[in-house]
């Protein structure tokens, strides 16, 4: 049958390696606008290490499939175990993985650490198919909500009788963030599970009904970006889109007030 198939497979594998290396090193990540640069670093480190393994193993696969084809005359090598070799690649892999693990756990701990005491509080409540954004206002306290009060005019069931509720600022699908100041976002949902995803900020948190989950991060650059829903939440999932506006701290109160008026 000739040696065509092995050659083809080797060439295909080399082509895969070349194309994958070329395209994986493009800047695919959405431009980073928050302080979570460590996540980007972890992604790049993963790319470098797994990329090296990818290139190495695939080149071996390509070489072996081309080089060791049956010639119809000689026999294969009778070579089927080598404890030292097997132990060393097991241990080396384990070592690399433990390094990843160590870094991953540290990073995870940092992401989930307590927010700074002066972090600005924001509440984001998902519903089919919109993001309700709420700021506590001058008193710094979010008013009480009661889902029994929810209605067309009051989608998150804000209890207007609560004194803290009066100055709460409510926005729909518009999230204003101060530049260079930590924000802690309380993520909630009225109905099904949504996922609060800010692609430019490396932030993603599922919004669960019956539960409030807090995350925090610091926006770093001003500009307008997008909020996406990352968890399938029904037929309008694709259009559950919001906007993030990062403004300098000095202009934040005014921007928020202007937005609230609209």
């Amino acid at each position: 049958m000739g040696r065509l198939q092995g050659l083809l497979f080797a060439l295909a594998t080399v082509a895969l390696v070349v194309l994958a290396t070329f395209y994986f090193t493009r800047p695919w990540l959405p431009p980073l606008k928050s302080d979570r640069i460590a996540i980007d670093h972890a992604i790049w480190l993963s790319l470098v290490v797994t990329g090296a393994v990818f290139i190495l193993t695939n080149l071996l696969l390509a070489y072996f499939s081309w080089r060791y084809q049956d010639d119809g005359r000689t026999r294969a090598a009778y070579w089927h175990h080598n404890p030292r070799l097997e132990w060393s690649w097991t241990l080396v892999t384990a070592l690399i993985m433990c390094t990843f693990l160590f870094k991953a756990l540290n990073l995870w701990a940092a992401v989930n650490a307590e927010p700074p005491a002066d972090a600005m509080l924001i509440e984001v409540t998902g519903q089919q198919f919109a993001w309700n954004v709420r700021y506590p206002g001058p008193d710094g306290m979010l008013g009480r909500t009661d889902h029994l009060l929810a209605s067309q005019e009051n989608p998150i069931g804000l209890d207007k009788s609560d004194p803290h509720a009066a100055d709460d600022v409510l926005l729909l699908n518009q999230l204003y963030l101060p530049q260079d100041r930590a924000v802690r976002v309380q993520v909630r949902s009225m109905d099904v599970i949504h996922s609060f995803f800010l692609p430019n900020f490396r932030v993603k948190q599922d919004a669960l009904p019956g539960m409030t989950v807090q995350i925090w991060f610091t926006p770093k650059e001003t500009g307008d970006f997008e909020i996406a829903c990352a968890e399938h939440c029904g037929l309008g999932h694709y259009r559950m889109r919001g906007q993030v506006h990062v403004v300098p701290v000095a202009q934040f109160d005014k921007a928020l007030a202007d937005a609230a008026v609209q």
């Binding site: 990843f100 990352a230 968890e231």
Partner: protein, 620 residues
Amino acid sequence: MTDMAHAPEAHAAEAHAHAEEAFIWKYVFSKNHRVIGIQYYVTAMVMALVAGLLAMLIRLQLAWPQRDWGVLAKLFPMGYDVGGGFGVMRPEFYAMLFTMHGTIMVFFVLSTAPVSGFGNILIPLQAGARDMAFPFLNGLSYWTFFVGCVVILSSFFVGAGAAAGGWTAYPPLSALKGAVPGSETGQTFWIIGMVFFIASFTMGGLNFVTTIINLRTKGLTPLRMPMTLWAMFLVAVLGLLAFPALVAACLMLIFDRHFGTSFFLPTGLVLNNVPLLGPDGKTFLHQGGSPLLWQHLFWFLGHPEVYILMLPALGFTSDILVTFARKPLFGYKSMVGALWAIAGLSFIVWGHHMFVSGMNPYLGMAFAVGTILIAVPSAVKVFNWLATLRGARIRFNTPMLWAVGVVSLFISGGLSGVWLAQSAPDIQLHDTMFVAAHFHLIMAGAALFGVFGATSYWFPKMFGRMMNDTLGKAHFWFTFVTYYGTFFPMHYIGIAGHLRRIYDPYQYEFLKPLQPINQLITISALILGSSQILFFVNFFWSAFAGKKATENPWQANGLEWTTASPPPHGNWPGPIPEVHRWPYEYANPDFPKDHVMQHEPLTAAEMEVKAAEGPSRHEH
């Protein structure tokens, strides 16, 4: 239950009586493992056609979302808006497409064809048994599966259509009838179909484990078992231990959906700005349930399920690789150990599907540990395969192409797992197309390629004929290139933030530039889909008119190659062969032949060596 103890040995004597059986008992309600295996296999392939078609519709939508698909609208009137002369897909139809594509592919195709299909065909042949331990239960399990298929398929035609809550069926979306149209009757059908599937899989698993533990032929010690047999054993154990959790979850979901309980439904659900009140009109209908509980129960099954799909393919690949490399499997013991490690770890990693679910971050840490560790046995498998190929004398027949294809996909798909296993990068990558790329390459791709490889390799034992090698190679090349063309670019758009399960990505500004890549993927996917015609043509043509196969056309070593192709009823016309050695004795310089089959008695020289080594070292 008492009927389970049917003695398989009796079949040999009964063989001639069976020959006169009516067609319906021989081929429809058969108790023969090979017939049942083929039934499973063919049914799974029909389901694959359906699920593949759904995937094509998904891809068309992602490439050209607002396009008028007049022809498709005529074919699927329920799925397209036809008002005003338009044929634009409805978002709820899109949700049904990806839900049913996932459900059918994961359970009814890729769990069924390799496990129930090839498991039934191969286990008795490789283990040296006349049939499975419980032939009646085996037949029952197929028909239970068949009912499950009918239920799942018919769900497209009930009420508001099929389930649309994703294959993971997360409540409250899947529990509240008003949350998405598919959560009406469609979701009920989904649950019922799943319960039938699980019942069938459990019956099969009982058979697999019992057969492998109890009915192995003399001399077939555990460390002489072919990798396929090992994989089947572990897969059956995984299924038996993991699926019951999903049954429990499904039952609770039914109670939540139909009887007003609150296992998964929390207090305070407000749908469309209207609180969901109980009969008293003052308090909430549902109180205090936990949506996360479903996710835990689902993924407790779901992750082992991923390995249920993959382990058989890893077994097939090892067996095929060795036969066509004409060289012993490198590191047999560590290969078995790696299978055990993967199977064991699969039970403690389910939480990596839930890193951003709101689960306690400390739990996330624990799950990241197990997940990252699973890379070690996986890497061991790849290195052993590569070492097997080094110094080999490879014959690139169709089965071998698929086997190296599995190795390639296992590398490509496995490495992205290292990214996702780290919980923090997963924040960005979770629920993006990166994940879709990852699992389509490693889980779906490896399983699919494994099945194609196994089909061309064991076709003689299924139908007594050979598959056409030229068509097989053409099918491989089209599939291999377009499979990568379809799923590899998904990594890039995933890193760029492209969401999964999204009807129209270009609603988002940041996804608009990705449309050309999506169109490229779709074109590749359409070629991938249509090139499967080559397979179906080859399959049916070869099954009826292929070249007659000899007993051992590939010069392989396993017990399945010691009997006729196809094997007679009872598998061996005479006595069952005994096993004297491991299945990977190729290229041994001590023998004049290139390969030594498992049932060939030890030579005098080998006896001497064995006696000198003592009784504990007996497997090679």
